[in-house]
């Protein structure tokens, strides 16, 4: 199994896109691209609703590369939607989060793919995604021992701490006042809300 590294999972999905045109006369691959462009960015992204996703991407694979003779041209019979995600934890849990937290977006995008069962029921959705999954051969992450929640927390702490050190510096700062200020900072950190994914 090379899909995982510590707490992180590298999911690779390749979903065949329908041939022909969609209901409004647009080819399905272009319809997918249109859906993807319309998705919100950063904190407005549907992925921000799935609080274990570090990075995710969608790419429409419409052709295959060619390097020149004597190599042969490979012609695809179908176009594919490549979806990859780098997330925390187990695949089943993740797919369920995707289905329940960003089901609308997923349904809009994948409705242009072959045999997509929709997002209403857990089992068919998970089984479809697994059929489209390709095993990762080698997965690398720089900080896979940490979950997204930990990363977001740390990024927020870093800002507050950097600010604090700058404000409290100098030999003339009275130790008791410094200690008091630090205690206040610790209280503030404990009460701070976790930054929303996509916003920091």
């Amino acid at each position: 199994m090379a899909n995982t590294s510590d707490k992180a999972y590298g999911l690779t999905i390749l979903s065949p896109i329908l041939g022909g045109v969609s209901a409004d006369g647009v080819p399905h691959d272009r319809a997918i691209r249109r859906e993807l462009i319309a998705l919100g960015a950063d904190g407005e992204s549907p992925f921000a609703q799935v609080p274990t996703t570090h990075f995710a991407r969608c790419v429409v694979i419409d052709t295959l590369p060619y390097e020149g003779i004597p190599a042969k041209v490979d012609q695809l019979k179908n176009k594919y939607l490549l979806f990859t995600s780098n997330f925390d934890g187990e695949l089943d849990d993740y797919l369920e989060l995707v289905r329940t937290r960003m089901g609308d977006a997923v349904a809009r995008i994948w409705s242009h793919c072959h045999a997509f069962p929709g997002v209403r029921d857990r089992a068919p959705f998970a089984s479809y995604m697994r059929r489209c999954q390709v095993e990762t051969s080698f997965f690398f992450g720089a900080y896979t021992k940490h979950t997204l929640v930990e990363v977001l927390r740390a990024l927020d702490t870093q800002r507050r701490m950097a600010q604090f050190v700058a404000e409290q510096q100098g030999a003339r700062r009275a130790p008791a006042a410094l200690q008091q200020a630090f205690r206040e900072l610790v209280g503030e950190l404990a009460g701070a809300a976790l930054p929303r994914p996509g916003t920091i």
Partner: protein, 217 residues
């Protein structure tokens, strides 16, 4: 086209392999996985060198996450009867990377720091030019790269270094809070001073900025 999200760049590339050569690549990945087992390996040994590539990748600190995926020619998912089966000559190697900033700088660093490691992974691909000299390598990647249609990062304002710095700071801070809780003010101040030295390279300004990124050519 959305290859960039904040400080992160999404690289997606497919290269092609003669199916006979794919076995070679599988062996390379098997060795890489073996080298990750927690056993001592001499640096000069083959396995030690393979492990070193990963150490170097981590130290380069450009990459949040990256992966290689072998997709055999018969492995393109077929999920419906009405979906035409593919008839391909080659197997495929997908490479995806989530890295910081500048495209050319990233490829260049690969070529400078881990040329052997990169060559071992891609030498099985059609017309792979080797990672040095750099220009043919850059052209090769450009030729097999796909533009990302949608890209999401949960922390667009953070580079790999920013994340690692923040995680380090958090770890040191958690420890310092516990260790300093009962100290009288004078001792606290001295301990705090030592603590700030420990986190001194995690104190810079972070977050999204109008960073001058070039769009990949």
């Amino acid at each position: 086209m959305a290859n960039i999200c904040g400080k992160a760049y999404a690289l997606t590339a497919f290269t092609r392999m003669n199916p006979i050569k794919t076995h070679g690549l599988r062996l390379v990945f098997a060795l890489i996985r073996l080298s990750m087992l927690p056993i001592p390996l001499p640096k000069w040994s083959l396995m030690g060198k393979i492990r070193q590539v990963q150490v170097d990748l981590t130290e380069l600190s450009f990459i949040h996450f990256a992966r290689w995926v072998i997709i055999e020619r018969g492995q393109f998912p077929r999920v419906a009867d009405e979906q035409e089966p593919e008839e391909l000559h080659y197997d495929y190697l997908l490479f995806e990377s989530n890295f910081n900033g500048d495209w050319e700088k990233y490829i260049d660093a690969f070529s400078q720091v881990v040329p052997g490691g990169m060559d071992n992974i891609w030498r099985w691909s059609v017309k792979y030019p080797q990672s040095r000299p750099i220009t043919p390598f850059l052209n090769y990647i450009r030729n097999c790269q796909y533009d990302t249609d949608y890209y999401y990062s949960a922390y667009p304002g953070a580079s790999t270094n920013d994340v690692r710095g923040a995680l380090l700071l958090q770890e040191k801070l958690d420890r310092f809070i516990l260790a300093s809780a009962a100290l009288p003010p004078e001792q606290f101040a001295a301990a705090y001073k030592r603590f700030t030295v420990e986190i001194q390279n995690c104190l810079s300004t972070t977050g999204r900025q109008a960073y001058p990124t070039r769009v990949a050519s």
